[in-house]
Symmetry: C2
Subunit: 368 residues, 2 copies
């Protein structure tokens, strides 16, 4: 992981003697920990990683996960694993930081509580916020990361193909969500990357709806937004279906969303400001009878977390870069009626993009 550490230090505007990534208790774990230390499993609550400009890493971990950490570090002489009891972590960290006067921290994922501990532990230290460079470095994926993201997207795509076969009149949203998650796991996911959204009928009008006891009825539109973790990397896919007698309006809406997604995809290439991707989709929707019905940004970078880096809305100047992996997910939301969203994961290439998710995107009308 020396390579990732070095890449990060090169990006820093203010040089630091060391970078500290400190985990708290789940869910407050800094995902950069797992970027800099590629360990396939383990929770690592309370663990701390100290990285140096030369690529060296000191890792402080409790006996609970020490074996996992030692196995992951095996053969990599740049990583030193320290097995410490949780309440001995700070003392050990103090020793490791001896001599470091300027220390980088990931303000975006460090708890303020940890920060106050660090201040007490190493008074006089200059703490530098390195969350911006961390975000930048993490947004551009290396080959290994793209492979994992591809696997995560493939798992989601397989399930996307299966969803139409799972639909049964009277099934609840929660039941369909359970099937989707089960199938992702059976296809090799280590779990869902976020709480699966299954929205029947009018529920589809709310982008972040959570599935409940609503039962599938003929005439319902269906939005399924779900994703898998594969070796800590996430996918995020949405497919919209229709159950029972086709609804000409929803079909038209789906066509517009498809066109909006195509327009957004066509705008993707290195150097383009993120907002251009959003605006390309928004223009299609705003030129349709559904003006104003795209109520969220059209996508976001994805990686060790499902929202990992940037969201792309009409205001983001940050450029798209080669190697970024992002979602493209326009939607139209009709309160009281339903919604349609289509979401795919792509990797940005030198001249455009490559699709990572491959499930068919057409509007599937499934007989009730």
């Amino acid at each position: 992981m020396k390579e990732r550490v070095r890449k990060l230090f090169e990006r820093l505007e203010t040089p630091v003697d060391a970078l500290v990534v400190a985990n708290s208790v789940e869910p407050h774990l800094d995902q950069s920990f797992f970027y800099l230390f590629d360990v396939p499993s383990g929770l690592f609550e309370g663990s701390v990683l100290v990285a140096r400009p030369d690529g060296r890493i000191d890792l402080l971990t409790s006996p609970l996960e020490a074996q996992t950490a030692e196995e992951a570090a095996k053969g990599d002489t740049s990583i030193t694993v320290h097995r410490v009891e949780r309440d001995g972590t700070e003392a050990q960290l103090g020793k490791i930081l001896d001599g470091a006067t300027t220390v980088g921290l990931n303000f975006a994922e460090l708890t303020h509580g940890w920060f106050t501990h660090l201040e007490k532990l190493r008074p006089g230290t200059t703490w530098v916020d390195v969350s911006a460079p961390i975000r930048k470095v993490r947004a551009v994926k290396d080959r290994e990361e793209v492979e994992r993201l591809r696997r995560a997207a493939e798992i989601g795509s397989k399930v996307g193909v299966e969803i139409p076969t799972l639909l049964r009149r009277g099934m609840t949203e929660l039941e369909l969500a359970a099937e989707i998650e089960y199938r992702m796991n059976r296809h090799g996911a280590s779990g869902r990357s976020f709480a699966t959204i299954v929205a029947f009928g009018p529920h589809g009008a709310e982008p972040h709806y959570s599935p409940g006891e609503a039962r599938l009825a003929a005439g319902d539109s269906i939005v399924c937004d779900y994703g898998a973790f594969f070796r800590r990397y996430a996918s995020d896919i949405t497919r919209s279906f229709h159950f029972g007698r086709p609804d000409p309006e929803m079909h038209r809406v789906h066509d517009i969303v498809e066109r909006a997604q195509q327009a957004a995809l066509a705008a993707v290439r290195p150097g383009v400001p993120g907002k251009e991707v959003h605006l390309a989709a928004q223009r299609v929707i705003d030129d349709s009878p559904y003006k104003g019905r795209l109520i969220h940004g059209v996508g976001h970078t994805i990686g060790l977390a499902v929202h990992d880096g940037w969201g792309y809305n009409a205001k983001v100047d940050e450029p798209i870069e080669e190697g970024m992996v992002l979602t493209v997910e326009p939607g139209i939301y009709l309160p009281g009626k339903g919604g349609v969203r289509i979401e795919d994961d792509i990797v940005v290439t030198r001249s455009g993009y490559e699709m990572l998710s491959t499930a068919p995107r057409g509007y599937l009308e499934v007989a009730a």
Copy 2:
């Protein structure tokens, strides 16, 4: 939720004009947000909650979840939902905090990044760390919370009964984990409360092992540690099994762990320092041939997160209180051979405890 807000303000040692709970991006969401605002679903990234000593709540949420928030707040005049775009949140928050000079923050779950934003937004404010009182208030559950925790534990118990029927020679750990999670969801969970641990054979020696491609073979011991979320509340259950020809040593180990759990449970009652519960289990194990093989604290409080409040090890003086919900989970770990852990969820009653998880605890030897 006025009641919870009031309870929290009563606990504060330093009076504050307002309490701010600010969410970042998943996974960095402050679980106290969902304690103070009981909303069944929704992610609420970037949302902010401002609570007042009189029980009033201002809730700033993006259009993505505004509808969910408004429905949850319906009929509760103490809650005002503000629909704001993400980049308008800080300005709106500044207005709401106008006049508040002393503001409480949950340092334990607030990101340091959010803290620096708040400092800029409201210079001159005195920020008070209220994470200790929040932890205390959240640790003692009200009736509604106990009911959800009971449901979460019941879901886990149902699956605990089913696990022996799922075991097949040659199945992988990941396959068994997928079955466990699927069944929890089918029994009504909204998802797993943490990444399921399934450890075959020697893998059971590592408490935080993550399931992989290892295949179940005759003679393997099996540790399954899993839990469900039910309306945001977690369960956490471990059962240990044996596959194939009984292994007299592992059976003996299981008996000792059972006795250790019984001893720990017998120590539970209001007023007892947490360490006493741990030490009761540790004594049983240290008096056996497996001295020193309990390598973690014997339990932890549980609630909106799986590790929610305290872990109980040999050093915790914090007393057990009536209404706390906690796990009791001694284990013995034998490197190279395997492990046994038994974990249940209990609610502390006036005179002792009540079991929330009910799956049989005996050592199940399943024919291969």
